[in-house]
């Protein structure tokens, strides 16, 4: 027996998961005064996937966020784009979904910024680092949902369109 999930189900799960991951980033610096152990645990959770350098992180309530500025942009971009996915124009979704290589090309600003920084040519501000991460990850939900719909319905034709 094959369970079929609707587009709305995948949208809800994706938005909740990516929203939780994003919330954790802002939760970690708020908690240390009341629950230091929980705060340390959240920082540790994000550690394998981020260098967490203080000089490259945004600060909240005097503490650094759980991830660096670029990763903050990545999490925020994915969440926001996934959240508003049902509202996007259908033609735009179709156009993007036909061009999966855009996932690679949208990473170019991030790669260029990283290369310039690592070569010591320019120390880009945190906002730029964050923006490059945001640009890359805001392209991803289009392919994410397409893949999930292939999984859930067995057909890539059935699309998530709440604006109909």
């Amino acid at each position: 027996m094959r369970i079929k999930f609707s587009g709305f189900f995948w949208w809800l799960i994706t938005s909740l998961t990516s929203g939780t991951l994003l919330a954790g980033i802002f939760l970690a610096p708020i908690l240390p005064t009341r629950w230091p152990a929980l705060s340390a645990f959240i920082y540790a959770l994000y550690a394998p996937l981020c260098h967490q350098q203080r000089s490259r992180s945004f600060y909240l309530a005097g503490q650094q966020l759980a991830v660096c500025s670029r990763c903050s942009g990545i999490y925020a971009g994915f969440f926001l784009c996934a959240l508003f996915y049902p509202l996007y124009w259908k033609k735009l979704k179709n156009w993007l979904e036909q061009r999966p290589l855009l996932m690679v090309f949208s990473a170019l600003p991030m790669v260029i910024d990283f290369s310039i920084n690592i070569l010591g040519l320019w120390n880009s501000p945190l906002f730029i680092k964050s923006l490059t991460g945001f640009i890359w990850s805001s392209f991803l939900p289009f392919y994410w949902f397409k893949a999930l719909q292939e999984l859930g319905t067995g057909s890539p034709q059935k699309r998530l369109d709440l604006q109909k």
Binding site: T17, S18, L21, F41, A44, L45, Y46, P48, L49, C50, H51, Q53, R54, S55, V67, C68, R70, C71, I74, P100, L101, M103, V104, L140, Y143, W144, K146, A147, L148, E150, L151, P156
Partner: protein
């Protein structure tokens, strides 16, 4: 019609082992989620090599997520023996840097005072669970990117222009 299903497990395990191991090594793991994404891309590449038919975008998502789960497990297990070593390496690095630099980032003194506290089972289990979730998320993204780079285009059917003779006897050259 026979339903074709790719075998995800071995490519996911190889890619997962790669991402989990590299993400646990100090200093190399400074590239954020890149290793998780790269490991999942490698998983998709291996799956694509192994599979004779064209794969779908959802195959990229699945093999990437599975590689992420494997990577998260391996990373969390490797972190157990590596944590005390990592702390010592970072402390030694900060110590040597502090000799040459006048100003260091705020909070560096706290880093020197950290001692390895050991591990308790619930926190290990929780970190394995969440680590797998994080890695699965970035692994799935890596699988999608792997699909965009390595996917096989469906083969176009070539029209066979040589017509088969209706009567078998027609094809034989007569004397």
């Amino acid at each position: 019609m026979e339903k074709r299903q790719p075998e995800y497990f071995v490519p996911a395990l190889i890619g997962g082992a790669l991402m989990g191991a590299v993400s646990a090594i100090p200093f190399i793991n400074c590239l954020c989620c890149l290793w998780a994404v790269a490991g999942a891309m490698f998983s998709f590449y291996l799956l694509n090599q192994k599979t004779s038919f064209p794969l779908k975008l959802s195959d990229g998502l699945l093999v990437g997520a599975l590689a992420g789960v494997c990577g998260g497990l391996i990373n969390a297990l490797l972190e157990i023996p590596l944590s005390p070593i990592n702390i010592r390496i970072v402390q030694r690095y900060i110590n040597s840097v502090s000799r040459f630099m006048k100003e260091l980032p705020p909070g560096w003194e706290e880093l020197l005072q950290i001692n390895y506290q050991g591990l308790d089972l619930p926190s290990v289990l929780l970190s394995v669970l969440f680590s797998s979730l994080f890695f699965a998320f970035f692994g799935a993204i890596g699988g999608l990117i792997g699909y965009s780079l390595f996917k096989k285009e469906p083969r176009k059917e070539v029209k066979d222009e040589t017509q088969l003779p209706q009567n078998p006897g027609d094809s034989q050259s007569g004397f």
